[in-house]
Symmetry: C3
Subunit: 340 residues, 3 copies
């Protein structure tokens, strides 16, 4: 594909010579017939050493490369061109005779069902959705159109999935929430009878777990992206267009607003409200409500700026400890002297 | 079902008018033919706005609703009534011809085996147990009566499961422990030849991992409840009726007493003893033994009260730092003055 | 097997009487016909109470037991003898007719493929490799010789696995990296078109996730051992012979040197370099590059010695706070007095 054709497709200005582009790559690894990009300022020095045939860059760096596609959002525009060179995952097509499909399931004829998929009673699956090998689709589960359910996913009963949803391998939706009541003879299971609802355009990573509600719904809002190994407990509500990075844990009944961002390994206690646009730094522990548009960090979480400042002091604690001891001695000495 | 019938079933006093109850729900979402409950004081204000037809409450709140079932343990009693309205997970019955079952396996005729289950040599499965689709049951695994093994669970060889055990989807029991010996030519695998033993009435969440012992047993005591994405290493012993919340990690050979509670994302080092009734706050890191009936928090863990007080100081560290600097200046000034 | 035969096999000196050995066990659990070992000094007192018939020990402890195999590396030598008593996992042999194998796949005739395995287009599998039940092997995946792929593993397209690699149950390799570009109408998926490359002699635990590169490769170096529930993001490079303990998360594009050790639940930010031989204490949060041969701890991470000292002060913060307040009062008093 000619670079000029890509420029036209992306609606971007081409500076420098036109050439044939046969692939996409990072600045470090790109060959002379590959297109690359610069988004992270950390990699500016690579512009001098890259062998890439062309680079998607902001205008200020255009002069540093032989051929440039000028973009105000290089990461976004590069993502669109990568799509042109992507090969789809999975070549199996149709509904496998090696799958188990309950007679009452309503499956659009355009759906792909791999071998060894179990589809239960009353399931509904919309057009062009693909269910990979080894996945379990429980009773009355509904999956919309254009969804991809990767291998070994388990969707327990009554789970509802919107359109254009991607669920990566090994993920579990609709497992029982962790609810037990203390009775006289030990812990008794609180029956979990609610469901998981996932709205349109959500992507959920691999080996993540989202529990069904005790009663009612656990809900993932439209456009939200969830990474790998995330735990979302029963009755949690995640707002639209939120980003939840890997290994986050959200406890029961907590409500997240829209466009919330949770860094990796964050833990959120139960029954809290996190306002729209909140951002929580990686590994933080949140035990209180967070107002909208607030950045927090640390365990227990505090305003993010305070967290950064406090973190700078942590390695100095032994020194502070000594200083205080010294001060105490000196003050005592002074007191004696002044007393005299 | 009449509210008076539910009252009779639960052996609770009904205050207010009798009525038809068609479901159960939270105070916020309940309709007028649904029964709800109040257990968490945070939700007391909802009593005024709920549309629930009746509420399970302690006596002090009974007057605030039109119909009340008076309970000294509303969460526990409500759990029992929810059971009445629960639909079981899974409608498949019998032993599927699409499962692989080794000729030497001893499977009670009342067992349900879904399609695409693999059951290996010498496996024994007790009455009324259900094995969902995609699960792997390795050689000589023994599963008791009334157990539920959800989809895509892997039970590696020699795992022993008691009665009334629930294992949620994607969970792995009996994977090799993480043991390597430093040899001259690099890391050599320490062969893991022990097993996992799970006693009666245990529930294990989704995508959790419990490693087989290097030698001997990794053991989960009767009545213990384990949440999602928990890691339990080789040779760990968990006592009876303990509660392990999501994303906890317990390192090798550590021993937990009875009724221990570990909050979410807690990490416990190896070869430790945690006494009966210990409670560890979420995200804590435990590096030392903990005596029985002790509450700890923080990384490294400290007495819980100390942790709470220490946590209050953390955001004030920058301020303390400045104060100490100021004190040093003032003391120096004073010293000069007193010297004169 | 005679103890003298084991001594000969291990090339170790036998002190004390020869005897028949029928198994291996821990000092605590061993019977009189079992061989045990002492490696962790914590367990020295067990030498007095053990019923073990013989013990692999260093020379200094040899006199404390009736029969000893003298070793300068007891853990390593015991690991080799345990191998003699280990039973292999899995008794299924051959290529199951209940597996789905694409006609273009090239599978060595010595390979074992369990029932309900899906093997896609263009897959290549080397001699003596075993693929357990429920695993998914995507298009163009290559797996070397002598590998074990445990149940319900998902290897997405283009993943490359070397020789002698072990992947435990439920693990996912090649899932899409977590990459989204902020467009005007919300988050757009950055297509993930790279792959995962795993070199020889790597072991990967259960329910771990390793994402395919956005572009290029996510790479796990030869001899590296990864525990359960670990998250390795797109484009991460892990060096040779590294050790990554359970529940660690490594963010995108971070590069680890050789023989790096990451303790459990560690989190590493993206685009960082960790030098050869670095060691990171459990639960630490790393936000900066780490030079080679450096030990760090804490969140944010600091030199390990500083972390230990700083940790000792944390529980004393409330006390320090009071001391500073008291000092301020006293200094004020002194100032007044000196002023007079």
């Amino acid at each position: 594909m000619l670079l000029s054709e890509i420029a036209k497709y992306l609606n971007l200005e081409l500076k420098g010579e036109d050439k044939e582009i046969r692939g996409v790559n990072t600045l470090e690894a790109a060959k002379k017939d590959e297109l690359s990009f610069l988004a992270n300022p950390k990699y500016v020095p690579h512009l001098k050493t890259t062998k890439a045939g062309a680079v998607v860059v902001s205008s200020e760096f255009a002069s540093q490369v032989s051929s440039a596609l000028i973009s105000s959002n290089p990461y976004f525009d590069f993502a669109r061109v990568v799509q042109l060179f992507a090969r789809p995952q999975g070549t199996f097509r149709g509904i496998s005779e090696l799958a188990f499909i309950h007679s009452t399931a309503q499956i659009d004829p355009t759906v792909t069902v791999y071998p060894f998929v179990y589809i239960g009673e009353g399931v509904k699956i919309g057009a062009n959705t693909v269910i990979f090998s080894g996945s379990y689709i429980g009773e009355r589960v509904e999956i919309g159109e254009q969804c991809t359910i990767y291998p070994n996913v388990s969707l327990l009963c009554d789970t509802k999935i919107g359109n254009n949803v991607i669920i990566h391998a090994g993920t579990v939706l609709g497992s029982d929430g962790f609810g037990f009541a203390q009775g006289q003879s030990g812990l008794e299971k609180f029956p979990q009878i609610g469901k998981v609802v996932v709205e349109d355009n959500v992507e959920i990573g691999a080996n993540t777990t989202i529990d069904r509600a005790a009663i009612g719904e656990t809900k993932i809002g439209a456009g939200t992206k969830i990474d790998n190994l995330v735990q979302i407990a029963h009755n949690v509500q995640v707002g639209e267009n939120s980003i939840i990075v890997a290994q986050v844990g959200i406890s029961g009944s907590t409500v997240l607003g829209k466009q919330v961002i949770l860094g990796g390994q964050v833990g959120i206690a139960g029954h809290l409200h996190l306002g729209d646009g909140c951002r929580v730094a990686a590994q933080s522990g949140v035990g209180k409500d967070i107002p909208p548009q607030t950045d927090v960090g640390g365990t227990p979480s505090m305003p993010h700026k305070t967290f950064l400042r406090s973190s700078l002091i942590l390695p100095k604690l032994p020194e502070l400890y000594k200083k205080i001891k010294k001060l105490e001695e000196k003050v005592k000495e002074l007191e004696t002297k002044v007393q005299e």
